[in-house]
């Protein structure tokens, strides 16, 4: 228990919050790395996932590839990449993209695949072209599932972005590696707590967003502000 106390003392120490190696600075780096990684991964996974979900083609291949990518140990991949690319932020970003693509891909194609076939058929019969079907039907109806994939990718990247500090001087992982090396376990624990807190906070935010998106797609109950609510309430009495 005392280690936790020491970790909190370390966190409460104003020195940790100041200067170029401050917690705020590292937190910002961690977030930026996460955003870059998830952004690039989404740029890869979304088009591919949409193509698979829309056409139903290439599904087996991509599931196999994504499964293989999931099985790759990120630390091992990072080590190889760092040896090839050198010390710096590039290697961890590439390794993290490999980590983030599979959940994004799975969320995207599963979301689009699960849209009612009759709804898509009706949209096509009404005269939507394939692009309009994707934009006006499939993406809105799949949005909450895609966001689910986005959420799980983000969570994994935030947790694993600690490894960035293994080969570069960036992110909250810095405290963990520094603490490990200097046997400053309170600092190490404080770093871990910061990462966990960040992950939980972001995940919470995304889950709220996901629920909002889902509700906009599945409006079951009459909205209170809609004009129909009044008369139907009167009729009920």
């Amino acid at each position: 228990m005392s280690m936790f106390l020491e970790a909190f003392t370390w966190l409460a120490d104003s020195a940790a919050w100041m200067g170029a190696t401050s917690i705020g600075h590292r937190l910002g780096q961690h977030l930026i790395i996460t955003m870059i990684v998830v952004g690039i991964a989404a740029a890869i996974a979304l088009p591919v996932g949409i193509a698979i979900g829309h056409t139903g083609r290439g599904r087996g291949f991509v599931i196999a590839a994504a499964g293989a990518a999931r099985a790759v140990p990120t630390l091992g991949l990072l080590t190889i990449l760092a040896l090839a690319m050198g010390i710096g932020i590039t290697a961890p970003i590439v390794a993290l993209i490999v980590l983030a693509v599979p959940p994004l891909l799975a969320g995207t194609y599963a979301g689009i695949e699960n849209v009612e076939r009759t709804t898509i058929d009706a949209a096509r019969a009404a005269g939507m072209n394939e692009f309009q079907i994707i934009v006006h039907v499939e993406l809105p109806l799949a949005a909450h599932v895609i966001l689910g994939g986005f959420r799980s990718a983000t969570l994994q990247v935030i947790a694993t972005a600690t490894l960035a500090a293994y080969v570069s001087d960036s992110g909250l992982g810095r405290y963990i590696f520094a603490g490990l090396k200097s046997r400053d376990y309170p600092q190490m624990l404080a770093g871990a707590l910061l990462v966990a807190a960040l992950a939980i906070l972001i995940d919470l935010g995304l889950s709220v967003l996901q629920r909002m998106v889902r509700r906009s797609v599945e409006p079951r109950m009459p909205r209170p502000r809609s004009r129909v609510a009044g008369p139907s309430l009167k009729g009920a009495s």
């Binding site: 009759t118 709804t119 058929d121 009706a122 949209a123 009404a126 109806l141």
Partner: protein
């Protein structure tokens, strides 16, 4: 005018849905395609707006091969109603009805005005305009489906078992509404159903199909009832059902119509 010229269609796996179907559907009339499942009726319907392409043969609209038209433009110019309405669940009733006009770059404001007019035409309350499909009953959803099909003022309406999923009382209401609409609008309508009574009620002409889209009999409803071509048609229209064979007795000075079992079906108009 919709013309089928020796149209055949088989699906992967070798199942023959339609074989050498030829027929000319007249303009401004309702043709009911009726048959049990596997008769190819939906396949025929979907070849009109190129949701399916014929394996061989040609489908023509007003003398032009449908393959000459751009698929998307063709579909926008033809109304299509399907079972369950096929409405977009994330869009309101008014937005659903406006789908095609908005695709055709009509302004949203204008499209909404049209949508509200159409709501009225299909017998729905205007307060439903801003509801979502999930908040409507099955019958209301079908009416919205019909309104959406009419939104771009198409000459042709394709109806794919539109009232198959609603209960009998609502179905009867929807059928009557459609009859009233059709007598006002005079669209060229193709109505697919497996319900012979619906076909006899709605069709100016009825095509009874056997499996493989082969025509068992074509004609006005009265003709099919009066002279079924063969045992298949007799059986399909239920010619031996007691309510198909009526007789008249006189009671209280009125002519009462009884079915074969002696149950009263109604009175003759004097």
């Amino acid at each position: 005018m919709i013309e089928f010229r020796a149209v055949s269609k088989s699906f992967s796996g070798g199942a023959v849905a339609v074989e050498e179907f030829s027929y000319v559907l007249p303009s401004h009339r309702t043709v009911a395609l009726v048959g049990s499942s596997g008769s190819g009726k939906t396949t025929l319907l979907r070849m009109v707006n190129r949701m399916l392409e014929p394996g061989s043969g040609t489908v023509l609209i007003d003398g032009r091969d449908v393959r000459e038209f751009n698929k998307v433009a063709l579909r926008r110019s033809i109304g299509y109603v399907m079972q369950d309405g096929g409405l977009l669940p994330h869009r309101t009733v008014a937005e659903n009805i406006s789908t095609v006009p908005v695709l055709n770059r009509v302004s949203r404001k204008e499209a909404r005005v049209t949508a509200l007019e159409l709501l009225e035409q299909v017998g729905l309350d205007l307060t439903l305009a801003d509801r979502y499909p999930a908040q409507l009953s099955g019958g209301q959803r079908q009416r919205v489906g019909v309104a959406r099909a009419l939104a771009a003022d198409p000459n042709i309406l394709l109806m794919d078992e539109p009232f198959g999923a609603v209960d009998p009382i609502v179905r009867r209401e929807l059928q009557n509404q459609l009859l009233a609409l059709q007598s006002r609008l005079g669209k060229t309508m193709v109505f697919v159903t497996h319900d012979i009574d619906e076909a006899l009620l709605l069709g100016d002409e009825v095509i009874v199909l056997r499996s493989g889209g082969r025509i068992a009999q074509v004609g006005p409803p009265a003709e099919i009832l009066a002279a079924p071509a063969d045992a298949f048609v007799r059986d399909f229209i239920g010619a031996d059902r007691p309510e198909r064979v009526l007789r008249i007795v006189e009671t209280q000075g009125r002519k009462v119509v009884l079915d074969q079992a002696g149950r009263p079906a109604g009175v003759l108009a004097s």
